[in-house]
């Protein structure tokens, strides 16, 4: 008798955990791979929490591409210099010194890419921003981040589960993203 009880329990536990795994994977509760939580070191310690959080600078001030282009764009050196140019904000900071040196020497700063999509995924910022999606939906609370972290898995499930919501009225064709 006890054998049967043990067997039944084992079978139930197996089935239960299997369904749990299925549910978790399908609903993006568990992320395997995809670099969620990736926090690379940047060449310049750019504090988003200061710029976007404390001073409430609009994301689009620097990331100018968001409203028109596929790419949000990382700002070019001259954008930094708008505020951090000679005799302007925070001149004494060594991090800013790096930025200014680079600009003055005509060097670009090689930022580490945080949120990366593969080549075959054509994410387009402009329509998402136009549709009123907040940057934080995908990028998380950047305004609180000292160092930018990949906040979401950015897996296909992550995209699709949002596109599917009827209120978003977004297409779920393959060619929406892949072409």
């Amino acid at each position: 008798m006890s054998k049967n009880v043990i067997g039944a329990v084992v079978v139930c536990v197996l089935l239960g955990s299997l369904s749990l795994v299925v549910w978790a994977l399908n609903n993006n509760k568990v992320v395997i791979g995809y670099n969620k939580g990736y926090v690379p070191d940047q060449p310049v310690n750019f504090p988003h929490d200061t710029h976007a959080g404390k001073y409430k600078i609009d994301c689009k001030y620097c990331h100018t591409g968001t409203e028109v282009s596929r790419h949000a764009s990382v700002p070019s050196g001259n954008v930094c210099m708008n505020c951090h140019g000679p005799a302007l904000v925070q001149n004494d900071s060594p991090e800013i010194q790096k930025v200014r040196d680079a600009f003055n020497n005509g060097r670009a700063i090689a930022w580490q890419k945080v949120n990366l999509l593969p080549d075959y995924v054509k994410f387009n910022h402009a329509p998402h921003i136009k549709a009123g999606k907040d940057c934080t939906v995908c990028h998380g609370p950047v305004a609180e981040m000292k160092k930018v972290v990949q906040h979401e898995s950015l897996s296909m499930g992550f995209c699709v589960n949002c596109h599917r919501q009827p209120e978003n009225n977004a297409p779920t064709n393959c060619s929406t993203c892949h072409y």
């Binding site: 395997i32 898995s153 296909m156 699709v160």
Partner: protein
């Protein structure tokens, strides 16, 4: 009452049967075996090299092109899957029909099935452009939304059918082997042999209460395998029949493929049995000339069915009045690949007619040669279906030719290396004749024998 021919020759007792069969596992083989396995290994190496190169550099290494998107890999896949049918047929269908003569060849036929399906199963994976992603054909939970598979695709049906078939055949084969493994375990003197076969035999001890359930499960598996075996080749034929392509888009394909599969499978069993009889002379008592003759009869019968299918295809192509269909069949027989069509007809329809003669049916060299021809013919049947339909379809502008490369030959001949390596290992490592099944039929055809109670 007509006296039945004995199923097992020689003066055998239960003990000698055990000894005859198990001795193969308990002794070291002779030089001819080693030569055989060295040859098989060589072919296997060719297979590994060819497929390795293909996986590394791309499918372009093979002759497949545009418009002939499927070539050697798919032809050989269907070929091996077809081979695999005889085993299940012998062990399951003949079991259900209470054909006692099946007992001595069932094990080896099943082993052939398992190895043929294993060999076959590699091909659909290796024929893809990105074989390392072949697991995407399985509907497993994933982080893509989730994105499932296309259940309308015959290739997904294939995945289900072939994997089910492989699983069930393997289980069937293994369950049938468990009592025999126990026999080897009990006879073992060596500690490791005892351990290994002990583990394999699952601790089987042959109590009557176990035999009761065992026989029931064996029958259930036979009953389940029978529709399964018919479905597998039907589904493989759907790969073609469901397509739009003239020459593929044919309703006759499922029965035609199944008949062809049995045909080629039995031919392969005859080939193997002829070899086994030579390699292991003692098996001649178990795999008798009567067994061989029975199989040859089946070969002839299925050969006629296949021949009928060939004729019927032509008739329907003409009768339907579909111009593409008519063209493709004329092209099959008289186009640039006409030679392959006539090889197929010769090997599959004409040559097996020799089995109308009893002397030919009972002559080992003749049947060996015929069985080889049938296997060649059946490979070419799949060649004809795959290549000639693809190379000239609807728009003449996209017509083209398919020319095999060395890698095609490597993949084809190399696959025999894999098959024979497994088969030769099996002959020496596992009980090649079902001991527990042979013993009850010892009495068949023996009068006055103390064991016969039939």
């Amino acid at each position: 009452m007509i006296r039945r021919a004995p199923l097992i020759l020689g003066s055998k007792t239960y003990e000698t049967i055990t000894k005859d069969i198990v001795s193969l596992v308990e002794s070291f083989p002779g030089p001819s075996y080693y030569m055989g396995i060295a040859g098989a290994q060589f072919l296997l190496l060719i297979f590994l090299f060819a497929q390795g190169m293909i996986v590394w550099f791309g499918m372009g290494m093979m002759g497949v092109n545009h418009p002939v998107g499927w070539g050697t890999d798919i032809i050989t896949f269907v070929f091996w899957i077809g081979i695999g049918h005889a085993g299940t047929l012998i062990s399951a269908v003949l079991f259900l029909f209470r054909q006692k003569w099946r007992t001595s060849i069932a094990r080896t036929a099943e082993a052939m099935t398992v190895f043929a399906v294993m060999t076959a199963g590699l091909f659909p994976i290796l024929h893809t452009g990105r074989p390392w992603l072949a697991y995407w054909l399985l509907p497993y939970p994933n982080q893509r939304g989730p994105l499932w598979v296309n259940f309308r695709s015959p290739l997904v049906w294939d995945v289900f059918a072939v994997s089910t078939y492989a699983t069930v055949s393997m289980v069937f084969w293994y369950i049938g082997m468990v009592p025999d493994l126990a026999t080897i375990r009990d006879r073992a003197k060596n500690k490791w042999r005892k351990r290994i076969y002990g583990a394999l035999s699952l601790g089987w001890r042959g109590t009557a209460r176990n035999w009761n359930h065992y026989e029931m499960v064996y029958m259930l598996l036979a009953g389940l395998s029978t529709p399964l075996v018919l479905s597998v080749h039907s589904i493989v034929s759907f790969d073609f029949a469901v397509a739009t392509l003239p020459g593929w888009h044919t309703t006759i394909f499922p029965p035609y493929f199944v008949a062809g599969a049995i045909f080629s499978g039995f031919a392969m069993v005859v080939t193997l049995m002829a070899i086994v009889r030579e390699l292991v002379p003692v098996f001649k008592d178990y795999i008798t000339i009567d067994h061989m003759e029975n199989m040859n009869k089946i070969i002839m019968a299925t050969g006629l069915m296949v021949g009928y299918a060939y004729g019927s295809e032509f008739f329907i192509a003409w009768y339907s009045g579909v111009e593409y269909e008519t063209f493709i069949f004329m092209n099959r027989a008289f186009g640039p690949y006409g030679w392959s069509y006539w090889i197929m007809v010769t090997c599959n329809v004409i040559i097996p007619q020799i089995f109308w003669f009893k002397a030919a049916r009972r002559n080992i060299p003749i049947m060996f040669v015929v069985s080889i021809f049938v296997n060649i013919g059946m490979w070419f049947e799949r060649f004809v279906i795959t290549i000639t339909s693809l190379h000239r379809d609807f728009l003449p502008s996209s017509w083209g030719m398919w020319i095999p490369t060395l890698y095609d030959f490597g993949a084809l001949f190399g696959s025999f290396g894999l098959f024979f390596t497994l088969f030769l290992l099996y002959i020496r490592l596992l009980p090649a004749i079902s001991i527990a099944e042979v013993k009850p039929v010892l009495g068949v055809g023996r009068e006055g024998d103390g064991h016969g109670h039939h």
